[in-house]
Amino acid sequence: MPAPVEPPIETPASLPEAYAVLADSSAEDPVTPIAGGTDVMVRITGEIGEPPRRMVDLSRLRELRGIAVDRGAVVLGALTTYTEIRRSSVCREHLPALVEAAATIGAGQIQNRGTIGGNAANASPAGDTLPVLLALDAAFEVGSNRGQRAITADAFWVAYRRTALAPDELILRIRIPIGSGRETRFRKIGTRRAQAISKVVLALSWVDQDGPPGSGRVAPIAPTGNGPIGTWRDVRLALGSVADRPIRTRATEAVLEAASPTPEIADAAAEALAGEIHPIDDVRSTAEYRRVVAARALHRMIRDAGGW
């Protein structure tokens, strides 16, 4: 194993100081931030691509911590760890699918360090929280010396391992809207329960037009099997590990929009999804497996929601 390189690192104590360090970061000569380090530390041996040349530590930036409810949204600081998400009563109440996703990441050692901002900025197509952020229509609040702006999740991952962040920008916070009665389901398929990178990962969300308003966590829709099955609105389906970046599958969403979770709709949506995604063969899985399993997992989610 090659000796790890130890790139120079600045350790700013406040956000303005961090912005100053990042001010001359450019695509050709980037300053690489480190949050929990669970992705970037793997790169310092130089075995996987170029190791970073100069770095900035985010761990002292209190501005990037904390979980709060603010104006109809849960706001997560970029440095929020998976362990914090799992333990947060706010997340457990309002974002159960995100809590579920956090629990599938790595194992305890990784969850204690890895951050949601790092997952998003790292932009792996297999990042497990990313489909959840897409399905929940999250927005990233990002900033630099030049000011702050918001980027919606569906505009954030622009190409393979590339985000819409400028080289001098940091993710500050992630805003996730809540309270519209939205339901969300998450499913990750990996080799084993812990420490497995996804072969396929899905998040499905919808608003049940006929459901109790503002509930957001009522499942299944027809628990007794004989109540009315609701109509879904504003359906979002997002997947990871099936393209060069996490994606929304809008053709399949269209099949589910204004529909009810019946067996016929589940069949049609699964078929649409198998036709819509174009995964690849790689070390973790095959294209064919991914296509079949993604469609099955979606079918199962719809069945569970329909209570049949």
């Binding site: 130890e6 690192i9 350790t11 812990a194």
Partner: protein, 158 residues
């Protein structure tokens, strides 16, 4: 280069090192605490597990600049001393008793992950123990004896 201050097994230390040096290397090379092992160097195996402020982390993934002011616990801190010599931690006793260590490479990391599990109130439940050591790989024991040893240390039947 920077100067970093933190506590290791209750003792204050100060090291001069590049901020990106791995905590694993600081412990083994700078401080001579070679109980902590390197397996994979990339967060997969857990051999390098230490506790930072009580929480298990892979020390191969932690740069020293991020532990300033923190309390680090390593395997060297588990046993205590008495007038009769070192006294093993209950977990170490249980690993010996139940055959939880073979080649020993995974053992320091297993012990620290298990220590944190017990410190946070974990009991002898097998499923919970397996989750607590899910980030620690062992190529020798098949895990059963390790799980049994942790259960014994947690007060379960031997």
């Amino acid at each position: 280069m920077g100067e970093w201050r933190f506590a290791v097994n209750g003792e204050a230390v100060e090291v001069e090192a590049p901020g990106m040096r791995r905590l694993l290397d600081i412990l083994r090379e700078d401080l001579g605490l070679t109980g902590t092992k390197e397996g994979c160097g990339e967060g997969e195996c857990g051999a390098c597990t230490v506790l930072v402020d009580g929480a298990p982390v892979d020390s191969c993934l932690v740069p020293v600049c991020q532990v300033e002011g923190a309390r680090i616990a390593t395997v060297e801190g588990l046993a205590t001393t008495s007038s009769e010599g070192p006294v093993l931690d209950r977990l170490q006793e249980a690993f010996l008793e139940m055959g939880g260590a073979q080649c020993g490479i995974c053992t320091p990391g297993m012990l620290m992950a298990a220590r944190s599990y017990l410190d946070s109130g974990g009991g002898p439940d097998e499923v919970a123990i397996r989750e607590a050591i899910a980030g620690n790989l062992c190529r020798c024991t098949g895990y059963t004896k390790i799980v049994e040893a942790i259960a014994v240390a947690a007060g379960g039947p031997g």
